[in-house]
């Protein structure tokens, strides 16, 4: 430490106190709650985008039915997967509950798979492929998938920062002292890029 030899004694104490305050806040006493809030906000965004995708699906199923009614299996699979994904009751602490988080992730992955199959099947119907409604829905779906990917990446990054802060010095000190009830947050197992639906090219 530096040798502060101020001639007047009354100057030394406030300076030391200010330096201590600087040290403490510089060492991130507020990092844990602010990283937590950021991660929660990113999680809301992820849920927002998944919901948006769910909202697009009924319209998509109806449009495909109009041209490809015989593809009943695939259509029903999508409808069932969507119902399962939207009916999951997420607990308030889903981000710190590994089982609930996994359930959510699996349901959404299943829906992604069913959607991919539906789009692949639609390839076989030229009337459907050139239908304006279908094209608009498809572009909206692709856009939503991209937004989901971006939201997931933002969330993964926010959770990484939060979990790292809980484990590394000096965050771990504040964690033990003040935020002992905080738990590390769950993150997505596989990047959405890998799971992305097959891009349908005309």
């Amino acid at each position: 430490m530096s040798r502060i030899t101020a001639s007047a004694g009354f100057v030394r104490f406030p300076i030391l106190a200010a330096l201590l305050g600087l040290l403490v806040s510089g060492c991130g006493i507020n990092n844990i709650p602010s990283y937590e809030e950021t991660a929660k906000a990113r999680w809301s965004e992820v849920q927002n985008q998944y919901q948006r995708r769910s909202d697009l699906i009924p319209n998509l199923v109806e449009t495909v039915k109009g041209f490809a009614k015989q593809e009943r299996e695939v259509l029903e699979a999508v409808t069932a997967a969507r119902a399962r994904a939207t009916s999951i009751q997420l607990p308030a602490d889903v981000v710190t509950d590994p089982e609930a988080f996994k359930k959510f992730q699996d349901a959404q992955a299943q829906l992604s798979g069913a959607l991919g199959r539906l789009l692949a099947v639609s390839e076989k119907y030229p009337d459907l492929k050139s239908n304006q409604n279908f094209l608009a829905l498809q572009s909206q779906l692709e856009g939503t998938e991209n937004r989901i990917a971006v939201a997931r990446r933002d969330y993964i990054e926010a959770v990484r920062a939060y979990n790292t802060e809980l484990k590394t010095f000096p965050g771990v000190i504040w964690f033990k002292l003040l935020y002992a009830t905080n738990k590390p947050m769950e993150t997505f197992a596989v990047s959405e890029d890998v799971q992305r639906n097959p891009q349908v090219k005309f």
Partner: protein, 267 residues
């Protein structure tokens, strides 16, 4: 690397160095690392791939500037030499965020990105414009105005028509395009975005400087004046460094954010 000024020559040297290191550590946590290298935002038309002639660039720049004056929306046209191995979707939103296109808070930015090497085009839409410049509309613009001209090898024409169409939609006239789309987009809630980190850095640096100043004065009695200037000068350059390298004296991003909206095409 930023160092504390060598003029600190008293026993408060240690305190100064320490405060400087603390400030640097706080700054480092604000600046994020990026894996992709983005071209510099030299203007509203960034022609890195050199596919546009000067006349086209000037005409486009004027129109884009007029758009921002009228609606405060920022539309930037960029052609890329290379997508650096990633998808144009992945590149697009990161580029939009890096440049901060769109006004802060409103997030009303959009990018028309052309990658001639990979033959990909994308209209990247900021959070705030997703309700007007919907995915369906951007797909129609790409498929009807841009791709046919690109296929006929008319890159400048395609870019100009694409930009004109986007500006038409942003100026409120989307009817021509809406006729081609049958589905309404759901309205989207904008996320809140408050980034006060650079302010905090500045505040603590100023406080550190003040403390050093006080220590020096109490120790030496009156000789602390000259030091104050280099320390506060440094905090100014740190603040401009942390806000991301905006080009001086011209066009710069307003700090808008992107969420992956928009659509792509290829030819």
């Amino acid at each position: 690397m930023i160092r504390p000024a060598p003029v600190l020559r008293t026993s408060a040297n240690g305190a100064g160095l320490f405060a400087g290191l603390v400030g640097l550590a706080m700054l480092a946590s604000v600046v994020l690392a990026q894996a992709l290298t983005f071209p510099a935002l030299t203007g509203r038309v960034v022609d890195e791939a050199n596919v546009l002639d000067q006349a086209t660039r000037t005409a486009l720049t004027d129109k884009l500037a007029a758009l921002e004056t009228k609606t405060s929306d920022q539309l930037v046209v960029v052609t890329l030499k290379s997508l650096q191995g990633t998808s144009i979707e992945d590149f697009g939103y990161q580029l939009g965020r890096a440049w901060g296109i769109g006004q802060k808070g409103k997030n009303n930015g959009a990018l028309l990105i052309v990658a001639p090497t990979e033959r990909k085009v994308r209209i990247e839409v900021g959070y705030g414009l997703e309700g007007t410049l919907t995915d369906a509309l951007t797909t129609v613009i790409i498929e009807s105005a841009i791709i046919p001209r690109f296929r006929a090898n008319d890159i400048p024409g395609g870019i100009t028509r694409g930009a004109d169409s986007i500006m038409q939609v942003l100026s409120g006239d989307a009817e021509l395009f809406k006729q081609q789309t049958a589905v309404k987009e759901a309205a989207r809630k904008q996320p809140q975005d408050n980034v006060y980190a650079p302010l905090f850095v500045l505040f603590w640096l100023a406080l550190a400087a003040f403390i050093i100043f006080t220590i020096a004065r109490s120790h030496r009695g009156g000789g602390g004046g000259p030091w104050f200037v280099p320390v506060s000068g440094r905090s100014d350059s740190w603040s401009s460094g942390s806000s991301g390298g905006f080009s001086s004296g011209g066009f710069s991003g307003g700090g808008g954010d992107f969420g992956g909206g928009g659509s792509s095409g290829s030819w």
